[in-house]
């Protein structure tokens, strides 16, 4: 199980490696391991089994997908992202869906981290009001108060 957790953490982090482009977590900012373990514990038996299967499938993908005698651990971050993107578009339904399950876990960990969420722009409502042109009346202040607190 330790190996599963180690691979899970590497895989989840692999979706958003350190980069100058877009949203990139700082080293140690996101706790992928605990998100993965919490998700597993709270899931149905079948989904928990699915998560573990997904980890093994993706961790061993360098071998069965690229013919490289390696696991995810041996890939550099940029290669991990390429591999995961490839699995998400795989023609086999099960491969696609299991990889998507990992991506969901990664998103839960990533955007569940307050500092990362703040950088994502999701809560950027002030800008919406000013720029969208769709809104005729401004949203109530209670919502902005909540956001500011």
């Amino acid at each position: 199980m330790r190996l599963t957790t180690k691979w899970a953490s590497e895989l989840l982090a692999g979706f958003a490696p350190a980069s100058d482009v877009g949203l990139s977590p700082l080293p140690g900012e996101v706790d992928y391991t605990s998100a993965f373990m919490r998700l597993r514990r709270a899931s149905t038996r079948l989904a928990s089994f699915g998560l573990v299967t997904a980890v093994w499938l993706a961790a061993l993908a360098p071998f069965w997908r690229w013919g490289r005698f390696a696991t995810i651990s041996q890939l550099v971050p940029a290669e991990r992202a390429v591999l995961l993107a490839d699995l998400l578009r795989h023609p086999t339904f099960a491969v696609r869906e299991l990889t998507l399950l990992l991506k969901l876990a990664a998103a839960l960990a990533l955007l569940g981290t307050a500092s990362v969420r703040a950088r994502s722009g999701y809560d950027n409502v002030q800008g919406t009001r000013a720029e969208s042109g769709m809104r005729r009346r401004l949203p109530l202040t209670a919502a902005s108060k909540e956001r500011a607190s």
Binding site: V21, A81, V82, A106, Y122, V125, R135, P139, A143
Partner: protein, 509 residues
């Protein structure tokens, strides 16, 4: 340390969602004693977590991983918390459509239960008590604005959604539970009201079995759970002097009945309103993070679907954006530029719910060919609506179709022959029909009083009793039917009851 609790009351109600809380609200108002059992925890608005994993762990069953047993599993969303699914829903309110009422009355012998004037009176009372009103323009949010713009441009008739949240401030996080107590879900409205009228709530108590007492349903046996509602920490035995009322929802009610030895027709006829969603990227900020979670709708019942704006928590929005690495990270930086609409389909398919070897629900369900055709039509319409609203790029989320569409005509690609059920992600949050009501014991589980044909004193008052799905959001119909059934039960059981008090100006107790 393991503990055991015993309690007794006139009525024991299992489940505190739309059905259970309403039944408890009506019965406790008559002066009867009521015990409310709930598997999930009791949460105050300020305890609702913002992060989705935390929030789902608190109040969504199995963090939304329960899914159908089918080649392409469909996740089934269910609340497991005081307030049931109403505590995590979007508060959309629709009355039971007339054609469904007529069909249930004529085809299933439910005429008396659904008697028009009495049912309308129940609807009106609930509407007065739960602060029902249209989403105001200033809380429609960018997502709702865009669906309005898209439907206006396509000449479709849309409207602001009616919700039980007149005091909504637009924090777009109904799925995590309303932190302001603005949405009048059952945990905010009818459960506290029932408690104020004398009902006793036992959260973190899962009913496992119902037993007879002198030929009638009399005892509920179950397990007490720790705060995360997953680990057993004790047992309980509740005595119902008059009736046991099962309101565990259409997935768990049949399970409980089955485990209690009530099996005839139980779990058969499961129906749902599966939904699929499409995301659009705009060249201006949309701000899905502000507005009523669901604000605008385009009802298309004659076409078997309903279109709604639906704001996603950022975690779910992120998971839906294509790619990994830089491609994904670029999109994540601009989460405020996306909008999402969904199509909810009135599917004709019927499935079945049974306990698995481990005692958890096993739901077998597969959309019919005609359902898939309607679904594809719905998704194609969503694509067109997004472009009509001004999207620069639409992400249909359909395998076998390009991930990013740039022209409205590409909506046709979704309709292609090669696109199958497996290629479209479905999700269902409206469940029905697994302990159907009907006059005939040959086909139904409960009669027109919602009492089990086979077990006196055992009632079901939740979405399980619906003989079919509706094509509209169901919580109001569930509440009104539970309201009617509980009133009728109270009058049968206790002829000299105090009459119910007049509707309150506000839902608070």
């Amino acid at each position: 340390m393991s503990k055991h609790v015993e309690d007794s009351a006139d009525y024991v109600v299992i489940g505190t969602g739309a059905g259970g809380a309403t039944a408890a609200r009506v019965l406790s108002a008559t002066g009867a004693s009521v015990i409310l059992l709930e598997e999930g925890p009791s949460l105050a608005p300020e305890e609702r977590a913002l992060g989705l994993l935390d929030a789902m762990s608190q109040s969504l069953r199995d963090v939304a991983t329960l899914a159908t047993h089918s080649p392409a599993p469909m996740p089934l969303l269910l609340g497991r918390v005081v307030g049931g699914s109403t505590a995590v829903n979007s508060g959309i309110i629709w009355r039971l459509p007339d054609d469904v009422r007529a069909e249930w009355a004529a085809g299933h012998g439910l005429g008396e239960l659904l008697e028009e004037r009495a049912l309308d009176a129940a609807f009106s009372r609930i509407e007065a008590e739960l602060e029902i009103g249209e989403v105001a323009e200033d809380t429609r949010g960018g997502n709702g604005d865009l669906l309005k713009a898209g439907s206006d441009a396509l000449g479709l008739t849309g409207r602001p959604i009616r919700r039980n949240a007149r005091r909504c401030v637009g924090s777009a996080r109904c799925l995590q539970g309303c932190p302001h107590g603005a949405r009048q879900s059952m945990d905010i409205s009818y459960v506290p009201r029932a408690i104020a009228q004398g009902a006793r709530l036992h959260p973190l108590c899962r009913a496992d079995r119902i037993e007879l007492d002198r030929g009638r349903a009399g005892f509920v046996l179950g397990t007490q759970l720790t705060a995360d509602a997953r680990v057993a920490c004790g047992t309980f035995r509740m005595h119902a002097r008059r009736a046991v009322i099962v309101c565990a929802g259409a997935i768990h009610t049949p399970l409980l009945l089955w485990k209690s030895g009530v099996r005839k027709n139980v779990g058969e006829g499961y129906q749902a309103h599966p939904g699929a969603a499409v995301i659009g990227r705009f060249d201006h900020q949309v701000g899905m993070g502000f507005g009523a979670t669901q604000a605008y709708e385009v009802p298309l019942r004659d076409r078997g679907m309903k279109i709604e704006s639906i704001s996603l928590p950022p975690e779910l929005l992120a998971a839906r954006l294509p790619g990994a690495g830089e491609e994904w990270q670029r999109s994540l930086r601009k989460l405020d530029y996306f909008a999402q609409f969904c199509a909810v389909i009135r599917m004709r398919a019927r499935g079945r719910v049974r306990p698995s070897l481990f005692g958890s629900p096993q739901v077998r369900y597969e959309p019919l060919r005609e359902d898939v055709a309607t679904l594809k039509e719905g998704v194609a319409l969503l694509v067109r609506l997004m472009f009509a609203a001004g999207a620069v790029e639409v992400l249909p989320g359909v395998a076998g179709v390009p991930e990013r569409l740039t022209r409205a005509e590409q909506a046709e690609l979704v309709l292609a022959e090669h696109v199958t059920r497996r290629d479209i992600h479905l999700m269902a949050s409206h469940h029905f029909g697994t302990a159907a009501a009907g006059a005939s014991p040959g086909h139904a589980v409960v009669d027109a009083q919602l009492q089990c044909h086979d077990v006196p004193g055992l009632y079901v008052m939740d979405a399980s009793v619906f003989p079919s799905n509706l094509g509209v959001n169901p919580q109001h119909s569930i509440m009104a039917i539970a309201y009617r059934a509980a009133e009728r039960l109270a009058n049968v059981e206790r002829p000299k009851l105090r009459s119910l008090p007049p509707p309150a100006a506000h839902a608070s107790v």
